[in-house]
Amino acid sequence: MFKGYQPDKFYDEMFDANSRVRPYCAPLMEKLGGLDEKEFLDRKATSELYFLRQGITFNVYHDNQGTERIFPFDPVPRVIPAAEWDHLEAGLTQRIMALNLFLHDIYHDQQILKDEVIPRFYIEQAKHYRPEFRGVDVPGDIYIHICGSDLIRGDDGTYYVLEDNGRCPSGASYLLENRNALKRSFPGIFDSLGVRPVDSYPRDLLNMLQHISPRRVGDPVCVLLTPGCHNSAYFEHCYLAREMGIQIVEGRDLTVVDKHVYMRTTRGLVKVDVIYRRIDDDFIDPVVFRKDSVLGVPGLMNAYRAGNVALANAVGTGVADDKVIYYFVPRIIEYYLGQEPILPNVPTYLASEEEDRKFILSHLPELVVKAANESGGYGMLMGPSATADEIEIFRERIIADPRNYIAQPVVALSRCPTWCDGGMEGRHIDLRPYIIYGEDVKIVPGGLTRVALTRGSLVVNSSQGGGSKDTWVLRH
């Protein structure tokens, strides 16, 4: 299966620089290598059928050819040895603690701004900063309850945090279903490898939701608030609600009476304590935010301010995953925790700083440029592969609105063997772990490994031709 496989000049997750199998991958290679191509392809087809029959699909917008697609799944797992995972776990825990202290500060005394660690200007101009929520206390002082930080590895194998997704990170259902699909279609490769299970995620999530309930007596009523069935992540919303055994609701299922939230049931109104919302701040309450939202719940923010309902994640967390604020996260960690960051950032240039901007504008063909508040691979310029026109468009945008842009050197993302028509080839990958912050911090071992299926591509987003892999964290 792996005959002729070339790690090339990149960091390869399975092979070292001399094309030798990394020792902790050897048992897996032996089992995968023992399959002939036909058997491998049959089993791969089984896993694809599983996804199709389960309806594990995502919607591609602006595509009229039937809106649902299967998220491509590659059966070759990505392996993380135990020591490496311990390091990641420590770094991610440190990061979510610091981000939460930061958000509490920003929405209260703003000491970090008074101490001039971050220029006030950057916070006040952040698109997702919600000054109207200053002074509002949230249960347990937790703002980001679920964080999906994206990690990448450079040439030498160092892990970097690429961005923090602290609003509505998605993809956890794929992490769970990838494992299910792989167990079904390739049961033989798991034998005695000591792969840590991932199925605690829904339980951890539910425990966290119950933990933040403002009502301390009786069982809290938790619900998942979805934008609805046309959202790209609707499958995931249903999946998580079902795994947790909670109701999935749309805005129209909820109503607010005397600053309490209720859901409309066949037996009348039932009070809701905790909302796991998968809907953006902008749309969540038309009275406070976008007036034209038909998805939100009028009056929800009143109930939230009054402390009668908890939201996960809290309102206003977007200020922490603004890509400009990202630049300051290492300083944030030092400021609040007095610690060195365990996981480094990717070097970042801020277009609104004069020196940096000059550098960016004179090096556009070598850099990745990102809008501060876009996700899903949108609003991005990949300098090395961009056309001259595309570069000029971004040059104008950066000059017109420097606060909204950052630039980073191209990191050559590590690669992992991936089945491509006709054989195994190296493809670039990233890793999105899911960090849950409730009574304590829980991180399901591994995360979602996304893979750029196009040869040479560094963009792993599903909307841009990405797929995914199962992620194995080893016990030893």
Binding site: N59, P227, H230, V249, T255, G376
Partner: protein, 343 residues
Amino acid sequence: MLSRVANTLYWMVRYVERADNLARLIDVNRQRLLDFESLDSERLRGFWKPIIQSTGDEELFHSLYDESGSDEVIRFMTADLRNPNSIVSCISLARENARTVRDQLSDELWEEINALHLFTKSHEAGQLLISDPPKYYENVRRSALTFLGIAASTTSRDEAWEFMDLGRHLERADKTTRFLDISTYLPAGSESDSTGVLHWTAILRSCGAMGAFRAGHHELSARGVLDFLIFSKTFPRSVRYCTERVDLSLHQISGTARGTFSNEAEREAGLLLAALNFGSTDEAFEVGLHDFLDGLQVRFNKIADAVFETYVLMPDRIQVRPLEPGAGISAVAAWQMEQQQQQ
């Protein structure tokens, strides 16, 4: 249970039931054509007209098709997505409803409706409809029955089940009356001749009732068929049986004793059930079959409207936005759903 979820489960099952009934109706009549010597286009139109009328989509059909030949009618009723009541449309709507309440369904139940949807959308299905139509309709019917069987063996007998059962039996009762109404358009005087017998046989078969009808030794006549399909106490597609089940489900949901009522839906269902329990085919002949069947359909609709009013709108005393029946989502809402960044 969330009102919206109750409403969605109810429609999911109605659409599956509708597709199942349509598959039988089309297949039976397609085969019945083989009993005739070749029909000219005028007589073909006469043959299909009552069948299109029975689903209430005659106007739409004529706006979409110039000819009324077998191919056009079959395509319109089976695979035309422009017809919201075609088999493929119904399956697609059932599946869309299932998708929105996926968390309420067993894995097996979801997989069955999803598999049926994938089948009707497949290239293979398109080929089959041309090369082997009976096989196509059999696939649809079998899958619909499997869906029913899985639902029955994996769903707790709680509200979710009762709303699904309610949808199934209201749809069934409605379709039985519509299929019976096809006889309204029989050529005058053909009641007892061989054409009439063929007609009644086709109606029985469209309701999947041939075997049960024979086993009861009923006379194959207008009276015999009406007695059976409207007033049978035991046949699961008779109007009386379905109404009995609707009444039962409604009382299970509210917890009210049978024979009494706590809301308008229960009152309407109780009234209709009494009329069927104590009525006879003579009444149908007195008022005229078409008007009689029409009256039944009006009463089914009254029950359905009252269910919607009671369980979907009523909890909402502080009404903000009404829910729409079925899977209706406005373009604005759909657009906003898409806009939510999932990071």
